[in-house]
């Protein structure tokens, strides 16, 4: 039996509730949450979908660290498991947090290929060598789960900060050999709420469940942004 201490919120008040879950080898925290929902308290609200660590729904704070519930094994956590919603997001209900703003920020950095010859009707095959692909591939693996944002000290104090995930997306496209939109994105990244607010606490890279290294992406983006801004300033 493992004790699950869950931080709940019903729209008005926040409280802790404990449940005893029979755990066996292989059981994940998500399975335990379903066990609680289906056997003890069906009002428990949490998000989940793919249960294989790729959809990004179930990031939550488990024993004080943001993790994906679906790929966290219960038996690695000890006899008591503390489950809380992610920090730096507004809680809606129990473990469910508001992600609208997070996705707005993603949209703000223009996370799509920008090309002058964009032709919807008759696209041509753009080439890209495996080396060029590897330049940015790791940054495409972001599942937008919000774990990075929840531990970012800049996001903790500044609501409008673009955050690690959005800037990783910006860098991912800037580094794509097929892209022609670097300048536009550098301008967005260099806004006061952009890259300058990151001070490389690098906690985002520590908690990223997909090892995307957002801190590295932000740092690369900042360097490119700064030099691009200075170049245009000096008229080079």
């Amino acid at each position: 039996m493992v004790e699950f201490k869950i931080r709940r919120y019903d729209g008005e008040k926040s409280y802790w509730q404990s449940f005893e879950v029979p755990a066996k080898r292989g059981m994940t925290v998500l399975e335990a949450l379903y066990y609680i929902k289906e056997n003890y308290d069906s009002s428990l609200a949490f998000r989940a979908s793919c249960r294989m660590g790729i959809c990004g729904s179930c990031a939550m704070k488990i024993n004080d660290k943001p993790r994906l519930a679906c790929e966290t094994q219960v038996l690695t956590l000890g006899n008591t498991v503390k489950v809380e919603p992610l920090d730096n997001f507004k809680v809606i209900k129990d473990l469910i947090t508001e992600f609208d703003g997070f996705f707005e920020k993603l949209k703000a950095v223009k996370p799509h290929l920008i090309r002058k010859d964009d032709n919807y009707a008759e696209p041509k095959e753009l080439l890209q060598t495996p080396e060029e692909l590897n330049e940015y591939y790791v940054f495409t693996l972001c599942i937008k789960c919000g774990a990075c944002y929840s531990v970012c000290p800049a996001a903790a104090t500044l609501d409008e900060y673009l955050g690690p995930a959005a800037m990783t997306a910006a860098y991912r496209f800037c580094a794509d050999s097929r892209d022609e939109g670097q300048k536009e994105r550098y301008e967005i990244a260099s806004s006061p709420n952009g890259v300058w607010r990151c001070h490389l606490a690098m906690e985002c890279s520590e908690v990223c469940p997909k090892n995307v290294e957002p801190a590295k992406a932000v740092q690369l983006l900042r360097r490119k942004t700064a030099f691009s801004m200075l170049k245009s300033l000096l008229g080079w």
């Binding site: 729209g11 696209p123 890209q128 495996p130």
Partner: protein, 566 residues
Amino acid sequence: MKVYHDIVVVGSGLAGLRAAIAAAEKNRNLSVAIVSKTYLIRCHSVCAEGGINTVLRETDEFDTHAWDTVKGSDFLADQDAVEFFVREVPTEILRLNSWGCPWSRDDSGKIAQRILGGHSSGRTVFAADRTGFHITHTLYERLLTYPNVDKYEEYFVTNLVVEDDTVKGIAAIELKTGELVFFEAKAVILATGGAGRLYGFTSCSHIVTGDGTALAYRAGVPLKDMEFVQFHPTGLVPAGGVLISEACRGEGGYLLNKNGERFMEKYAPEKMELAPRDIVARAIWTEILEGRGFDSDYGPYVALDLTHLGEDRIKERLPLIREASIKFAGIDPVEEPIPVRPTVHYFMGGIHTNSRSETPIKGLYAAGECACVSIHGANRLGGNALAECLVFGRVAGELAAEYALNAKQGKISAEFRQKEEKRIFDDLLGKSGDESPYQIKKELNETMENYFWIFREGDGMLKGVKKIQELKERYKNVEINDKSRDFNTDLTSAIEIGYMLDLAEVVAIGALKRQESRGAHYRLDYPKRDDENWLKHTLAYYTPEGPKFDYKPVSITKWEPVERKY
């Protein structure tokens, strides 16, 4: 609350995203809504791994792709639809390329291809083993560039409004507030995916509960070929059937039984592990039934051996598989074989559409897994599902746009709105009862797994049908414990279970009626294919007493049915 859009797309997987883009691209003045019960990139499409089939180079031909598909379908596919389909895929691949999809490449920088089961050559385009994930994100990112698309994320659809054989709109609960929102539209595109959660051991996400299929069915649209449920041969055993991609075998993996034999040589001597999914799944299940599987706490399994591929190839081509095996089973495929057994993966059947994604209801379109065009017939080939979503998603989007430009605005009457409010909040949420929806779901899963698994037979299925009907009765008496309005996942789970019960009944009775073995539908009491009597599509119509069945001939253009050997 009431909102108005020209086109409402329900579902945000590949087909839904593609349809929304196509509609928005067709005419920038049309207002398009995309409604999803999750955030857009949390759909099940992200789980697709292996790849997407297309004829991309001169060495391959459209007719070969079409033939492989038709043969794979055990000749139940509509051949006119298949011929149209194969010609449309290449453009979609190149579009995704120019929208930023990180396709895996060959050394010259061209899009690389590999082979999946049932194909005569390597025509599967892929992005490592995260193909669905990358395509979904690429489409999502592209969608953000259309100002005429409004996203309604975390809206749970409760009803499809049809009057006079014309679609009027949908009703959906805005989860955050618990408010019922009515979407009035000229055209509605359903792209809500399959219903894999009818079963417990499945590669499908928790959200794959067949919502749109059930809604269309209740609104009077027939469901086609629902008895054909695909079992993916390789589901990860200790994790409830998480998908282990066909790409593992495409890259050269072996299936081994307890005695270390590559048993596929008995079942498909020519194609071996790369036979179509129905054949490999049956082979594995036969090995397990005959005692040549391994035993474990999580049930029997066979071994999927990748060790001979070498660390580099596994890391480059199958990184997600490796990650999943390590995280969920504690097994590194570089060193040890992966424990696998067949897992419920895909519904070949779905909402009846013609080869242009149109349903019999005016203004209503369906695309993706929730639809049955049918290009997959009785068994889908690996890599054709993503392609289907792109092609028929686009077709649905374009046709809906054309239709919407000339159609009248749909109106949802105040009377209907009141009735729907009452149905959801008073009759379901408000009432008391003594059944738990989760208990019903559990029993439903057991019933489906006992009687409608890989091997089926008449008596068992009859029992299964009775059990499902009993569960439907009991469902009328469920009680939802969480009485609050905001983000009530207890309520939405209960509604989903209601959808699943309807679909289960269609699957079950359709399977019982089809007295032959074809593709994924294999009956021990009728082990042969029967083209004389059963070369036809099943159509199930909703009636309050249960489904009413009808049949429809298969469209055959070039290829007469022959014996299916691999």
